[in-house]
């Protein structure tokens, strides 16, 4: 394992020192491990707090700023934050209008945010939680852990963040976040495994001609292994998996995210995006808005995920609303 780190133990602290130096728009509390906006939102705004394991950068730190999150809580690599962090974040950014937790659906994240929500409630902070669960590679049932949260997190944080910025109350902000999640489906393919620094070697071994289909963002293997194929075929498989679970019809519009998992060149992501566009166009589905790049990564994993959010006028307006964060900026 070769990584630009000093040691696995100090990785998060060292990276946070870099984040603090790199982004004047962010304030980093190194002890509490909480990243907030350098200039807090005006009082009375619903505060958005998210977080999760590190290794998915720019998620979530890169989405802190006007128009999106008020605070992010980075855990250790691939490990959810602890309740103390989340509580500290909620305390730091709440200004009376309540706090929305955006939580990716993983047991660890769910439990730690739940404990934090209980502690916050004891302090009189109103908390709502949006659970992001968009990954169709995972079966959804009350008997399982349910679908994972992946790329849709960006859409949820963007749309809910925009509504909060407009002064909407906590329930409305939570509702739009849940709506964005419900309208989103994702699916990922890995060409190589991620190497967790503390583990020191790739999470799985993949031959030169095979891929993992239906992978998550934590280096876990996928649902199955398949032979490598051209980008066109992989795009078709991913689009097919999503459409099989999504009520997208001709004439519908989507927000599309072709997301790199960390080790894939942007050039290749553009190839995939071109194929996805053509596949959707053939079904009469139009990509109204899109992102192509590294947004929800899995350390150095090569591969991509596709997220499609069925868009209506409100979601598009919220998507288009101004945002000014390290990873997403428009006006």
């Amino acid at each position: 394992m070769k990584k630009l780190i000093n040691s696995p133990e100090t990785l998060l602290a060292d990276a946070l020192a870099g984040v603090a130096a790199a982004h004047p728009g962010l304030a980093v509390d190194a002890d509490a491990r909480v990243v907030t906006r350098a200039v807090p939102a005006a009082p009375g705004k619903v505060a958005l707090v998210s977080g999760g394991g590190s290794g998915h950068e720019p998620l979530h730190i890169g989405f802190v700023g006007p128009g999106m999150l008020d605070a992010a809580c980075p855990g250790e690599v691939f490990t959810s934050p602890v309740p103390d962090q989340v509580l500290a974040a909620a305390r730091a950014v709440q200004s009376g209008a309540g706090v929305l937790f955006v939580v990716k659906n993983y047991t660890g994240d769910v439990l730690n945010f739940r404990l934090a929500a209980e502690l916050a409630a004891e302090e009189g902070i109103a908390v709502e939680t949006v659970l992001v669960d968009d990954d169709v590679a995972v079966e959804d049932s009350t008997w399982t852990a349910g679908r994972r949260g992946t790329g849709a997190t960006v859409v949820v944080e963007k749309t809910a963040g925009a509504l909060a910025e407009r002064g909407a109350p906590l329930e409305a902000v939570a509702a739009v976040g849940r709506r964005a999640d419900a309208a989103s489906r994702s699916f990922a393919i890995a060409l190589s495994a991620a190497t967790v620094p503390a583990a020191g070697r790739p999470g799985f071994d993949l031959p030169e001609d095979e891929i993992e289909v239906g992978v998550g963002i934590h280096g876990e293997p996928g649902r199955r292994r398949e032979p490598m194929r051209p980008a066109r075929d992989l795009a078709a498989e991913v689009v097919g998996a999503i459409l099989a679970d999504h009520d997208l019809a001709a004439g519908d519009e989507v927000i599309a995210l072709v997301n790199g998992l960390g080790g894939t060149p942007l050039l290749e992501l553009y190839v995939v995006f071109g194929e996805v566009r053509a596949l959707l166009a053939a079904r009469g589905v139009r990509i109204a808005r899109s992102l192509v790049g590294n947004y929800v990564t899995s350390l150095d994993m090569a591969g991509f995920s596709l997220t499609l959010t069925k868009a209506d006028r409100e979601l598009l307006e919220l998507w288009d609303a101004p945002v000014a964060t390290p990873a997403l900026t428009w006006s």
Binding site: E76, T79, G108, L111, N112, R114, R201
Partner: protein, 217 residues
């Protein structure tokens, strides 16, 4: 002495467990890499290092207080799924032990039956929080048989009961191999999760192995 879990034994338990976690960190991480995200070993090591620091800082007043503090520290320092689960378990065990046993006057109950009841509270906390049932391929598959074995052997004193519990936890961890995970990160693999021991079940076997070691002396 053989029949109770006093403060010294509780501390010995946690120290033995911390040592076992450190010794097995790589193994736990490798198990987690196979069907999860490869951090279970480092998660627990980080947590128990913090627990050791609290033990070194201030002597605990009672086994219940010591175990409850252990649980709180784990919750504050581990993260992931195992942090809240083990943390809640130790907090529940500690709180159960701290409840005065009416038959024993003011002295906190630390006899084997009380320990059995406390361990059952720990298991209940794990299941309340995580919703896992036996057979879901989680720490519950080691925890539940261990609690049952401890209860069944409680009449023989904590040392014997802890030995029985440790053996049952080991067996429970081994029994997770053919299971298909329905909870936690391993569930995402579907049928591919079969063929591996669940990392949390293996660390639960360390928990009860450490208890047996602490109660032996």
């Amino acid at each position: 002495m053989d029949g109770t879990l006093d403060t010294a034994r509780a501390e010995a338990w946690i120290r033995a467990l911390a040592a076992a976690v450190a010794a097995h960190e790589a193994e736990l991480t490798a198990l987690d890499a196979a069907i999860g995200d490869g951090d279970h070993g480092s998660n627990l090591r980080r947590g128990f290092e913090a627990v050791l620091a609290t033990l070194d800082d201030a002597p605990a007043a009672s086994p219940g207080a010591l175990l409850a503090t252990t649980g709180s520290t784990l919750i504050s320092r581990v993260g992931g799924a195992s942090g809240p689960l083990y943390g809640s378990a130790f907090r529940a065990i500690g709180h159960a032990l701290a409840v005065p046993d009416p038959d024993a006057g003011e002295r906190p109950a630390t006899g084997a039956p009380a320990v059995a009841a406390a361990l059952a509270e720990g298991l209940a906390a794990v299941q309340r929080l995580g919703g896992a049932q036996p057979g879901d391929k989680t720490m519950v598959d080691a925890f539940a048989p261990a609690v049952e074995a401890f209860r069944a052997a409680a009449g023989d004193g904590v040392a014997a009961a802890a030995r029985a519990a440790a053996a049952a936890a080991e067996q429970g961890a081994t029994a997770t191999v053919p299971m298909v995970a329905r909870k936690g990160r391993a569930s995402y693999l579907g049928p591919r999760s079969a063929g591996h021991r669940d990392p949390g079940a293996v660390s639960t076997a360390l928990v009860f192995g450490a208890l047996a070691a602490a109660c032996r002396g």
